[in-house]
Symmetry: C2
């Protein structure tokens, strides 16, 4: 993310989560052969103490036992940080109730696709916003979203009125930007907004200017809260276990966009920022 | 406010609170000679049932007994809706703690001037933003604000860094607009923003575009909540009584900008929108 990545100095390792097998260990908490997940960055081999990083992120988690049919790479997606981002962000900040309407932007991404499905599990009417008809088809036909809005081709305001005739109660915001200003104008009294990211501006040189949001925020007494999932580190495995249970019950589905080879990492990353991925973007070494 | 006023149809009575003396009453709850405050609009005489208005606002409150040295017009300001807006909005949404830094925009207005003083009562370091040196002098010299920023002439970012070297914890936002985007970039982790209004855009034909706020909201996990003071109708007299007590203890000061004569109402209103008032803008009939 630009938000974190823009602070990097030239020459430092680029950010990224990784599943890694332990080759050698001098720490009794970790054994060779075990798999861990950590914020190791773009590299093939890592020396780690396993201790927390200076930014408070965990150094390395030992991946819990996954059912045999689930790939370890899910520890980077639906059974890791993105899945937990969806789980805690939606449930703790949006607090969706049965019968309410939920809208999620970046809906076909690693986080958004899980947000919408958990919304359905909780009895919400769910609208996903993404940038291609193919993604939309996946959201509605396979993941069970009620509606899809293509932000690149649809008249967004018209579609919101059509798909959310009773207004929107919960908004899980992955993108920020003008679309957020539009969505806020269709929210109900005491609506809740979980602000997870602002990807719409990550590739811009300057932070974009968008229609100011204070009118709908005041008139409808909206509550908007930004969050970073590490706030719930002490409940980390609660999210993973619940998402795993829902996968096994057939209630949560996932997709990964896998790129092969370290040399294709940069392309995979920039494709992701341009919206080329569906579900979690993975690079396999 | 544009927010409410823009919904008015031509020919309807313009919005405004009023202190009125009861001339005649067929309702046993109200007696001739009593003073009430209500959303009667711009008119000299009103027929009211005293019942709640369709928008949920109270029809008419009987003004509680004020100490003899306090004018009844305070029921329109510090001992009425604006005072309660400051009291509940700051305490319930910003939840200021001793030692924290509070910034308030529209600081010399009927709401902002009370917000800053309650912030001082609660032990905060308080910065007020307003549009003239005269207002700034009043805030700092008479009301006890720690610092003043003149948004028309100061380098706002530089002043924030100087006056809030440890960052801002609470922001009471009366104006919205670009200054809000700037302030959010200087807020601390888990900062709270009470969104009370967006006056910076009320005179614009289109809602202004401002720098998007998702980056600071996410990175610092900020919580932003819009509110209308009528949310706390059931605690209405708690706010009035506490503010009255603080006035009597010398901890809360007020100023009114009084215009004489119904025929000068429009000018008083537009002067207020342009920032001509200090404290509550009152028209005396």
């Amino acid at each position: 993310m630009r938000a974190h990545a823009s602070k990097l100095q030239p020459g430092s390792t680029f950010l990224g989560s990784q599943v890694a097998r332990i080759i050698e260990s001098k720490n009794p908490k970790y054994s060779p052969g075990q798999y861990v997940v950590g914020e190791f960055g773009w590299r093939t081999h890592t020396v780690s103490t396993g201790e927390r990083l200076p930014n408070g992120f965990p150094g390395a988690w030992i991946i819990p036992d996954f059912p045999k049919d689930l790939p370890l790479s899910l520890a980077l997606g639906i059974l890791g940080m993105p899945g937990n981002t969806a789980y805690f962000g939606l449930l703790e900040i949006c607090q969706p109730k049965p019968g309410e309407t939920l809208i999620v932007t970046g809906a076909a991404g690693a986080v958004g696709s899980v947000v919408g499905q958990i919304g359905k599990i909780k009895g919400c009417h769910v609208i996903g916003v993404a940038g291609s008809e193919e993604k939309g088809k996946w959201l509605v036909d396979e993941l069970g979203f009620d509606h899809f809005i293509n932000y690149k081709t649809d008249d967004i305001t018209k579609k919101i009125k059509e798909y959310a005739p009773n207004g929107i109660d919960c908004y899980f915001d992955n993108v920020g930007g003008e679309i957020t200003s539009m969505i806020l104008c269709h929210m109900n009294h005491f609506g809740r907004i979980a602000v997870c990211g602002g990807i719409s501006g990550y590739n811009e040189k300057d932070i974009p200017k968008v229609t100011m949001i204070q009118y709908p925020v005041v008139i409808n007494e909206l509550k908007m809260e930004g969050f970073i999932v590490h706030r719930w580190l002490d409940r980390w495995f609660e999210g993973i276990e619940q998402n795993m249970k829902w996968i096994q019950e057939g209630k949560l589905k996932y997709r990964e966009t896998v790129t092969e080879g370290f040399e294709n990492m940069f392309k995979a990353f920039t494709d992701m920022l341009r919206g080329g991925n569906t579900g979690k973007a993975i690079v396999k070494l």
